[in-house]
């Protein structure tokens, strides 16, 4: 006998960035279809970059995202510098990491406290949680502010920074201005440790998944700007080989392209949990001690525990930012000279939400001929759908409302940035 299928739909996901929904179809106890529906209009950044000067590109790609603009700028400048065969020295390199620390702090602090914690504590929103957890909410906002302050000082402004240049920075702050941040960041380091202890005390549903983790890995540091792309299944490639290993593909229900690995286009996980699993021992000592204290063991393959990974990365970012701020002296030159040449280059950096790939082809005048941008949420889409299928299969006997709520919580654990990911426009033309 064929029964009528149950259809569970979440029209608009809340507490995620951008516009997306969920669709689940179940027949009997079989999950027939699961779709993460991304219906936000495509933004076509890759096309509008064509013909633009390399000097304009970091400011344009920063516009892709209001919460992770530094990631876009970092992948951009590294890809273009790779094409031009130039490498800024260690001072610039450290300051780029400092800027990235600011972005990780502001992005993770907001997600942990305002967007994700309410799921564990039974509140519909951070706002609803505020009356019962005022100190935690205030802490989250203060940590976010510290991240913004770092972006303002070294990026020129807190949202869509304008101080990142191919070759370095346009100008760098005085040593005294950087030193003024130190007391706040010392408070922030302890507050981030407290926040991580707090989220590690939450109840986590058993939901380990057979992930292939994919992240950058660097022999000497927790990855942000540099390293090789590695996976928990042994992949180890350079950023230049990304396009040979990963393939974008379309699904009709999403305006964001999917991305698969290898010939089979298998799904994989990027983001804090993947970074932590592949780079745990490279955390700053403060974060590594804390990871041990709160019981992080590898593999940590429960997506809900990503809130702990974000907490540890906030601690790491504070520790590293403090180390750089305490030794900061304004470099004599904010950037190196860059000479365009006809070439192509690719780079991968670690956005708060995971691996962010950029590739540019440029002409001899430094004008963009082709651009490819693959954000982390695009890469996680197929994994999110696989997780949802697994979740619904395990809860198929539950009421629809409960399944819908649990699915939404699962998606939120990825901290997806849907607006970043949309760049696919499917055109169906019918001629009569």
């Amino acid at each position: 006998m064929t029964s009528e299928p149950r259809r569970i739909r979440v029209e608009a996901l809340t507490r995620v960035e951008g516009e997306g929904g969920l669709y689940v179809r179940v027949r009997g106890d079989q999950v027939e279809e699961v779709r993460l529906e991304i219906y936000e209009p495509p933004r076509l950044f890759e096309a509008l970059l064509r013909g633009r000067s390399f000097q304009e590109v970091p400011d344009i790609t920063a516009r892709i995202c209001g919460i992770c603009p530094v990631a876009y700028q970092m992948s951009t400048v590294h890809a273009i510098e790779s094409a031009f065969g130039c490498a800024p020295g260690p001072e610039i390199r450290r300051l780029r990491r400092l800027l990235y620390c600011g972005e990780w702090i502001e992005s993770h602090a907001l997600h942990v406290h305002m967007l994700h914690a309410p799921d564990f504590l039974g509140y519909p929103s951070g706002l609803a949680m505020a009356a019962d957890f005022p100190e935690e909410i205030k802490r989250g906002l203060r940590l976010k502010k510290h991240g913004n302050q770092l972006l303002e000082l070294f990026g020129g402004r807190a949202v869509h920074p304008i101080n990142v240049a191919v070759g370095g920075f346009y100008r760098l702050p005085d040593t005294s201005d950087a030193a003024r941040l130190i007391p706040d960041f010392e408070w922030g380091l302890q507050a981030a440790i407290d926040a991580t202890r707090w989220v590690a005390s939450f109840d986590f549903a058993d939901f380990d998944q057979p992930y292939e983790f994919v992240a950058l890995s660097h022999p000497a540091e927790y990855p942000m700007n540099e390293g090789r792309i590695v996976s928990s299944q042994g992949m180890d490639i350079s950023a230049q080989d990304f396009a040979a290993e990963f393939t974008e593909y379309q699904q009709p229900h999403s305006t964001a392209l999917f991305c698969g690995r290898g010939a089979a286009q298998t799904h994989y996980l990027v983001g804090p949990l993947a970074r932590l699993n592949l780079n745990l021992e490279r955390l700053a000592p403060e974060a590594l001690r804390l990871a041990e204290e709160v019981g992080v063991t590898r593999p940590c393959a429960n997506p809900y525990r990503s809130i702990i990974a974000r907490g540890l990365e906030i601690v790491h970012a504070y520790a590293e930012a403090l180390s750089i701020l305490k030794t900061y002296e304004r470099p004599r030159a904010p950037r190196i000279e860059v000479r365009p040449r006809a070439s192509s280059g690719a780079a991968v950096t670690e956005a708060p939400r995971g691996l962010l790939y950029h590739r540019f082809e440029l002409d001899a005048d430094g004008l963009v001929r082709e651009a490819t941008i693959i954000p982390p949420t695009s890469q996680n889409q197929a994994q999110i759908e696989a997780d949802l299928r697994s979740l619904v299969s395990a809860r198929v006997a539950r009421p629809d409302e409960e399944i819908a709520r649990d699915c939404e919580r699962l998606v939120r654990s990825y901290d997806p940035c849907i607006s970043c990911s949309t760049h696919f426009l499917k055109l169906d033309m019918v001629r009569t």
Partner: protein
């Protein structure tokens, strides 16, 4: 820590008529310097940083709610139309009503909060404030200054 019991905040961005909240506070800075603290923000959640000791808050922001461009709404918080405060939270920031609601939930919101919502038609990147909105900003600034002087 603020030095005054009255805080005036202009919310906005550098994009065309979305700048109008900032322009109100720019006009006010010289008019009320001894009577109030005056700030401009792009992210309304920053308001929470300055509420210590504040008893009266005026927040000026562009809006696209109802009425022609230049129309000024004056709302006494929390009596604001439901669809003004209904936008969902995201990781990309909060609106002015959300920031005020959060301040209320945290117990740090002053008792006396006035929102000045100034209707705009559009906010175009890299354009200056339109002449019509310049006049509205001046009028709103003078009204706030007058009320503070009479208080």
């Amino acid at each position: 820590m603020t030095r005054s019991a009255t805080l005036i905040v202009g919310v906005g961005s550098p994009h065309g008529d979305d700048r109008v909240g900032w322009r109100v506070t720019e006009r006010l800075a010289s008019l009320v310097s001894s009577l109030a603290d005056v700030r401009t923000v792009a992210d309304p959640s920053e308001i929470l940083d300055w509420l210590d000791g504040v008893r009266t808050l005026h927040a000026c922001d562009a809006c696209h709610f109802s009425g022609a461009a230049g129309h000024v709404h004056r709302w006494q918080w929390p009596d604001v139309p439901a669809n003004v405060s209904k936008t969902a939270w995201s990781s990309h920031g909060v609106t002015l009503p959300q920031a005020l609601a959060l301040a209320g939930a945290l117990g740090v919101l002053p008792d006396d909060v006035t929102i000045w919502g100034i209707e705009i038609a559009a906010a175009r990147t890299a354009e200056p404030l339109s002449p019509a909105l310049e006049q509205v900003a001046t009028a709103v600034a003078e009204q706030i200054a007058g009320e503070l002087a009479d208080a």
